[in-house]
Amino acid sequence: MESTEAKELHDTHHDADGHGADHHHDPGFWRKYIFSTDHKIIGIQYGITSLLFMLFGFFLIATMRWSMAYPGQPMPVVGSLLHIIMGDMTSAVFDPETKELIGYAISNDLYNAFGAMHGTIMVFLAVVPLAFAAFGNYVVPLQIGAVDMAFPRLNMASYHLFLLGGLIMLASFFIPGGPAQAGWTSYSPLATSIQTDGQLYWLIAMVIIITSSLLGAVNFIATIIQLRAPGMTWMRMPFFCWAQFVTAFLLLLAFPPLEVGALLQLMDKVAGTSFYLPTGLAISTMKDISGGGSPLLYQHLFWFLGHPEVYVLILPAMGVVSEIIANNTRKPLWGYKSLVYSTLVLGFLSFIVWAHHMYLTGMGTKISTFFQTTTMIISIPSVIILTCLFISLWGGSIRFNTPMLFALAFLPMFGIGGLTGLPLGFNYSDILLHDTYYVIGHFHYVVAPGTIFGLIAGIYFWYPKMTGRYMNEFWGKVHFWGSFIFMNLTFQPMFAQGMAGMLRRMADGGVGYSIANNPDAVGGLADQFVKLNANITLAAYALGLAQIPFIINLFYSISKGKKVESDNPWHSTTLEWQTPTPPPHGNFTTPPTVTGGPYEYSVPGSSQDYIPQNQKA
């Protein structure tokens, strides 16, 4: 939440044109922070909630990593705590000689549950809400010069639905049997047959979260179409807004099929239908089903969302990074139009590539070829975007502040993530790599050092606007170098493990398949790859520690950070910096009229090296 200082700024500010009636001078805590309809407060609500979820998601994987690196060994401290909370889902570990209880490890079921929850929480409750809802809410209306979102009350409803969905997801940790265990993909019939109500919670929570995202998407698109300030033509919109616009469309049109997917699975669970249960299915827990369903139907519905979802994860981060790069190179973005059109093409194509996640489901060669082709085509706009951003650096007098460091790191990290995706797009190489740690390495390069770096950059960048104070630069740099090094140490070895054939979703990290344990078997996992598990785990813990300076910095700087010298501390061109700091309810003191493009930096002949969008003569 905001500090008292920020609150004061809020309260003492008045609209120039005297719309005082709208301003409750003291709306009270609840109206102001919980039931607020102000897009900025809602953005901050989303931001805080999703950062907490991200921390929780990290905690889950941290415990899982222990299990992979030291299978069967008791987890210090955390093991006993988990035993108190999760009861029998942890497994007691006894000393082989003395038969004494020496601690608790997570059971295989709990590993599965945590894995499913790590994926679900990271994707749907942490990164998407942070990238799309938090940054989108805070920044988009400001950047287009609007007073608020088009439907402020709907906006509030979106957040509350999101929170409800998140709480239901969390509640499933405390029910007997624990949370869903069938992975973040929840493939049927696996998901339907596991005897835990956690899956039910998962489905209900997903339906609610999806509804929330749909309402949010409607709101964003309507806002961008209807509330752009006078003069803010489409081609004068900052690239960040374009990225959010396309993202909103992806959510709007791709989420409903997943909602259907979840609803049908819910019917299978509670109404005894067989949408995803084929005739002749032989699972002991599922007798008396009518059969006649299709497991692949679920996969189609899931991945119809699933693929656009990866662009939902990455586009907002690209938007943030573009803003920061333009601002800190003091140059216009190179190829703004190419960026915009590439993004549109990317969004469009992302709807017809989904079955590249399904090469191993026995698809025919014709349809495989189709999806392989569209997948290769879609990599072109991504490459264009990255190239434009790289070229934008050329010849700039770069300011290496913390946001810029994270933004710069985004480029090669996302590059690695993207390029390693190509072998997964060709069906002949995917057949070998599918479901191995190579895949885990690939998409984590995209979402962790990619998206999350972009978002962290955004936090450092817009923090002065939200609070009126900078975050600490020194600790910011410590945070950056720590994150950068340990991110790579965590995820880089996974490529090697995957190519050596180590599969994902294994609680023992593949020891069971190692040559050491199966000396006579052909194709066992070589020891050095199994040993990498311990390295990765340590790196992941170090990565977690590297976030501590960030967390402290985030809270400490609210009241103790260096104060900004002006409303536009980074000397930026875009409209969000032309507001008071922090912006009051209603945003602008005088409604802005846009007269120039988004990136008028270092314009020859001008007295300053930037011309704000509303100040071009």
């Binding site: 084929p278 692949l296 079955a355 698809m363 189709f370």
Partner: protein
């Protein structure tokens, strides 16, 4: 939409009533056609869907005023239709294109 003067509204009201007629006739026709029992399944399905599409078209064009709407709405609906067809066609194609068409007894 173009102007909504009282005269025009009165004119559109007459259109609405005509559309009602079309919809009623269309419904009777669909039901009637289903009793015809064509030999080919494709014919039966095709006809039923054709009539339904015509009816839906009238509702969309006249009741929902799509006959005279802003460009941006058309663009949105065009995009949606494309993705909807993509979803449907590709799923069906994928279900038909199999390396081995094993049918269980």
């Amino acid at each position: 939409m173009s102007g909504h003067g009282p005269e025009e509204i009165k004119k559109t009201i007459r259109t609405y009533l005509k559309v009602l007629g079309v919809l009623v006739v269309g419904t009777i026709a669909t039901v009637g056609a289903s009793y015809l029992h064509f030999d080919s399944m494709a014919m039966t399905v095709g006809l039923a869907l054709l009539i339904a599409s015509v009816k839906a078209g009238f509702v969309a064009l006249y009741f929902m005023h799509l006959i005279d709407e802003q460009k941006i709405i058309y663009k949105l609906l065009g995009l949606t239709t494309f993705f909807f067809l993509g979803l449907m066609v590709l799923i069906i194609w994928a279900s038909g294109d199999k390396p081995m068409n094993t049918v269980m007894p």
